[in-house]
Every structure is written in C-alpha cells, then in structure tokens.
Amino acid sequence: MASVTKRDAQETLGAWHSAASTFEKEVAKAVVGQERVIRLLTVAIFARGHVLLEGDVGVGKTTLLRAVARAIGGAYGRIEGTVDLMPSDLVYYTYLGEDGRPRVDPGPVLRHGEALSVFFFNEINRARPQVHSLLLRLMAERSVNAFNRDYQLPFLQVFADRNRVEREETFELPAAARDRFFIEIGVETPTDPEIRRQLVFDPRFHDVDALIAAVKEGVLDHRELPTIAAAIQQNVHASPALQKYVLDLWTAIQKPAAAGISLPGINMARLIRGGGSPRGMSYLVRGARVQAWLEGRDVVVPEDIRALFVEIIAHRIFLDPIYEIRQENLTRDLCTAIFAAVPSP
C-alpha cells in the first residue's frame, strides 16, 4: 500500500515538474535575462516561503511579481509601503459611502478572503515597524485577526520588495523580520548587451500590461501548492552524507576560524556575531529539496545547497559591528570561502 502511494506521489510530482518548467518559461516571457531570479522564485513558491526582493529601481521587480502572480493563479493583493502606513491599513479599507456615512471594508489583505495567493508589499522598508510586525504574523501564521474574527489565508505567499538605493525615511527591517523571509533575492540589471538592448529598444517591453497579459494565467494551481510542497519535502531524499555536509556548513558559518577559513584583512575570530538560525538552515534544506526536484532529481546534492546558500543564508549571518558596513560583500565572500573549504561529501 505504502509503495503504491509512493508511486502515486512520484507520478504527481512528475506532472508538477513539467508544470513548474512551464511556469518558469511563462514568467521568462515577461522578464528577460533574469533566469536565476525566476528559478529562485520558483524554489520559494514550491517551498511555500516568503520572498524579499532587493534591487535597484526599474529593474523589473514589480513586473516580475505581477507575472508570477498571474502564472500562479489565485488572487493578488498589493500595498505600497509609506512612512504613514499603519497596520490597520493592511486589513481595513475605510471610506465615505455614497450616503455620506463612513464605511469599513476589508483591506488589501482580506479583500479576496482565502483565495489570496500572492501579496505584494512594495518598498517594505518605507513602512513603520508596527506594520512589519503585523506582516510578520501574517507570514508566520498565515492568519490575521480582523472584524473580531480570525481570517485564514492558507495559500498566502508574501513578496516584499526593498529598495536599497534610498536610506531616508526608511525603516531598516529588523533581524527577526528578515529571518522570517524564506529567501532574499537580489534583482540586478542584466549584463548581457543583447538583453540590455532589447530592454531599452524593443517596444514589447514598453507596455507592462501587455507584457503581463502574454503570461499564461494559472499555470500552477495555487490551491494545490501546499500539498505538492509537502510531497516534495517527503519524496526528495537527503542522505546522511548530505546531512553531515549541511551541518558542517552551519558550523563553519558560526566558527569560520575553526573551519580554517580566512578572509584577507579580517579577524575571523571576531567576524561572526551570530550566524545561520536553525530556521534559516531548515529553510535552506527545504529550498535545496525543491531545487533538486526542479533539476529532476530525487536526491539532494551539494550543488543544490550551494545554488541557494547565499540567497537563503547570507542575510541571516550577523557580523561584528565593526564589519557591519561591509556586510553584503563580506558575507558573500564568507559563503564562497565556506564552500571552498568545507569538504563534500
């Protein structure tokens, strides 16, 4: 009986695997030159993790998310982060009715009820910490209390976008908030000259709505996603050797000096103040299973871990204050050094 279910699961997974490829292809229609970002988003979707997008202005983050939302299907809600945004603005919509009386309707989070599958929080670092804290609850529990009752949002996936150009009138996301995001994806301007030329001169990219409309709607069934995500986690195998490897990586992040890792000009004994929360490491393995499945394998290999490591773990490494200003480059170098030094298998 058990073997039959297993075979069923594998057949379902096979069908979903082709759906995932279609999803990647459809999203790539709207956003060119961002194959890696699309792959990371796909991993996040199948790992049911929330995504923090980072990047310069005008690289197509919003377009990308709209394309993703359209391809996933389900309802889509969005809100712009501003300095005067209050938590209640997420759940309530207040206005004056035609009869002149004030009305309170469900806000962007609740408007679609359970069907909400993609919630896009634009410029999250412009919102105040009290908004962040509501968002954290939303992300962690997929439920929110409003109108004196609990709303369940089982298919919700939050995509937040952080503009890293400006610092004024912004509220840096606290470590706890960043830890709750499954993955932090940096969206860079494509470097390939041909793609850059297309982006600037091809009229196709001038009309975003037409671009999004070209993406096939509902390639994935958002209601099935939690089930299929669980099936992936159950059916993709992480061997003892791989488990040991991941644990070694974790130790190496926390005590890089003991693992024989050194970066030029850095006191390795002082560098790390805290690194790789257990949640972060479990997210990493979750992501790696999805990555393995997307690559058509039923076993996780170190390459899967490496493919996601920087995006999932780097923002969970906290450096000594004297190194904090160089955080981004240092953690990236540290991750590279860790992969060069920790033996596998």
């Binding site: 195998h237 061997s239 003892p240 050797a241 791989l242 076993v299 996780v300 290999v301 170190p302 390459e303 490496r306 992969f339 060069a340 030094a341 920790v342 033996p343 596998s344 298998p345």
Partner: protein
C-alpha cells in the same frame, strides 16, 4: 735574492777555437762571500750565451754528488732560452758545505769546463773557480761544564705565526660555501627545501590501492571515493562539486583526457553518498576501475610539468 755579477766576460781569445760560437760566459755567485757555517747551501749560476746552432753538451755540466770530502753539489740543472740568433744557457748550481771550521778561512768551489758542439766542431768554455770564507760555529776551548749535555745550546723556539686572519677567512669562506650550497639546494629543490610540489593524486592512488586491496566491502569503496574527492579538492585548491568539473579540467588541463572517467567518478560518488546506492555506483565504476583511474591520474600528475 740579489746576486752580484762576479763573473767575467770571456771572449773568443779564451776559447779553444777561433770561431765565435760562444758569445759570453757569466758566473754569478752569492753577494756575500763570508760568514758561512757548516751545512749552509751556496747557490751560483752560470749564464752562457751561444750562437744559434751551438748545443751544450749536457754531460759536461757537473752532476750532483760529492765534489770533495767537505763539499757536495746538491742540485744542478740547466735552463735553455732561445733568442733571435743566440741561445742562453743558465746553469743553476747549489753547493752544500760540510766543512767544520775552527777558524775563519777561505774555501774554494772548484771551476769546471763546459763543452759545446756545433756544425763547426766542438768548443769548450772554462768556468772559473770561486771562493768564500767559512766561519767557526763553536768556541775552540769552552769553559768546563759539569755534564756533557750542558754544552748543548737550547733549540731555537719555533716561530709564532698569528693565524687569526687565516682562521677568520676560513670560517668566512666556510660560511659562504654553506650559504651557496643552501641557495643551490633551494634552487634545485633538494633537501631541506625538498618539499616537492604536492602530489595529491599520487598519494590518493597509493591509499586507494591499499584500501581496495585490503577489503572488498562497500565501506572500502566509499573511503576510496572519498580519498579521490580529497585529491581533486587539493589539486583544485577548493572543494570541487560535480558541476564544477569543467572549470576543474580547464584549470588542470593535464587531466582533461580523463573527462569521461571523471564524469563516471562523480556519478558514482553521487550514487554512493547522496542516493545511498552503492551497488549502482559500483556498477558504474567498479573498484578495479576506480583503482586504475586513480593510478592514471597519479601518472598524469607526475608527468605534468
């Protein structure tokens, strides 16, 4: 040593034939001709200039040996120098005196005759005798002493030579030689600079052969794969995953002809470590093949410049 020209110029008139085949004869004796003791050596030279074509009869040169009961010719040799139309014979003679004199008196070194031959016939030249004054070494009537040994004079102390400079020079040169050898050893990578270029594959091949030779089980196969993994990592300088193989082969082109085998190796490694399917891994790459593969890599590593 300065020598006084004591000798005389002899011209044709003194020669037995009228032909001027011998141009000149010069006898050079020591400058000081007095104050010699028993055992002293006196040196003289005879320079004879002759025409070209005139040859000294070597037998006429006195041979070393006793000349008298008190006089021994200890050395005699002839040097020949050719000029444009003349030839110079220089005859060096060393006499040792064994005369034990009680008073100062002259002693005679005998003269001798040198004979020459030329196309015109034979010629001879008389080298004159010369004399020097010998001096006594001890008193004739010493005061009476108690013991016979008291008459003996003490030995001359050996001279003291200060060797400090030589000693310093010796040490300095020795040190310089050591340093030079050190530099040479470093250049040629000899001991103690013999840390040869690391040979991870050679080492791994040796260990793999040992492991697989000793045991046939799956654990040995696993360990052998691990050993080869570590060798690949050590060669690359960082951990190499299966998907890094192309970059690895680019960086280490001496192994690029084993690309297929490398692929098989990484495939087996995946099967073994991540899919927990050693049987499939051994079907892809048998222990024997693994052993041969590591041997080949070791050979390629040694052959690389």
């Amino acid at each position: 040593m300065r020598w006084a020209a004591f000798g005389l110029m002899l011209f044709a008139g003194t020669l037995t034939t009228a032909d001027a085949q011998v141009r000149s004869v010069k006898l050079v004796t020591p400058e000081r001709l007095f104050g010699y003791f028993v055992g002293d050596v006196l040196r003289s030279e005879v320079d004879v200039a002759v025409d070209k074509g005139t040859v000294l009869n070597r037998a006429s040169v006195p041979a070393p040996g006793d000349l008298d009961y008190w006089l021994e010719l200890v050395d005699s040799h002839v040097e020949e120098t050719a000029g444009d139309d003349t030839k110079l014979y220089r005859i060096s003679l060393a006499y040792q005196n064994f005369y034990l004199a009680l008073d100062a008196r002259p002693l005679n070194i005998p003269g001798f005759t040198l004979s020459f031959t030329s196309s015109h016939g034979a010629t001879s030249v008389q080298v004159p005798a010369w004399s020097f004054l010998i001096s006594p070494l001890r008193e004739i009537l010493p005061a009476a002493k108690a013991a016979g040994a008291d008459y003996m004079q003490p030995d001359v102390k050996p001279p003291y030579y200060n060797l400090l400079r030589e000693r310093i020079a010796t040490f300095a040169l020795f040190a310089a030689a050591l340093i030079a050898f050190g530099i040479l050893a470093y250049h040629l990578a000899l001991w103690p600079f013999g840390a040869r270029a690391k040979r991870p594959f050679t080492e791994a091949a040796r260990r793999i052969r040992k492991m697989l030779g000793a045991r046939e089980d799956e654990l040995a196969y696993r360990d052998a794969l691990l050993a080869l993994h570590r060798a690949v990592d050590a060669t690359a300088g960082h951990v190499v995953f299966a998907e890094d193989l192309p970059q690895f082969l680019d960086a280490a082109p001496m192994f690029s002809r084993w690309k297929e085998e490398f692929n098989l190796f990484f495939q087996s490694s995946r099967q073994t470590f991540f899919a927990d399917n050693i049987a499939a891994a051994r079907a892809d790459l048998s222990p024997d093949e693994l052993c041969r593969f590591s041997d080949r890599l070791a050979a390629a590593e040694r052959a690389a410049p």
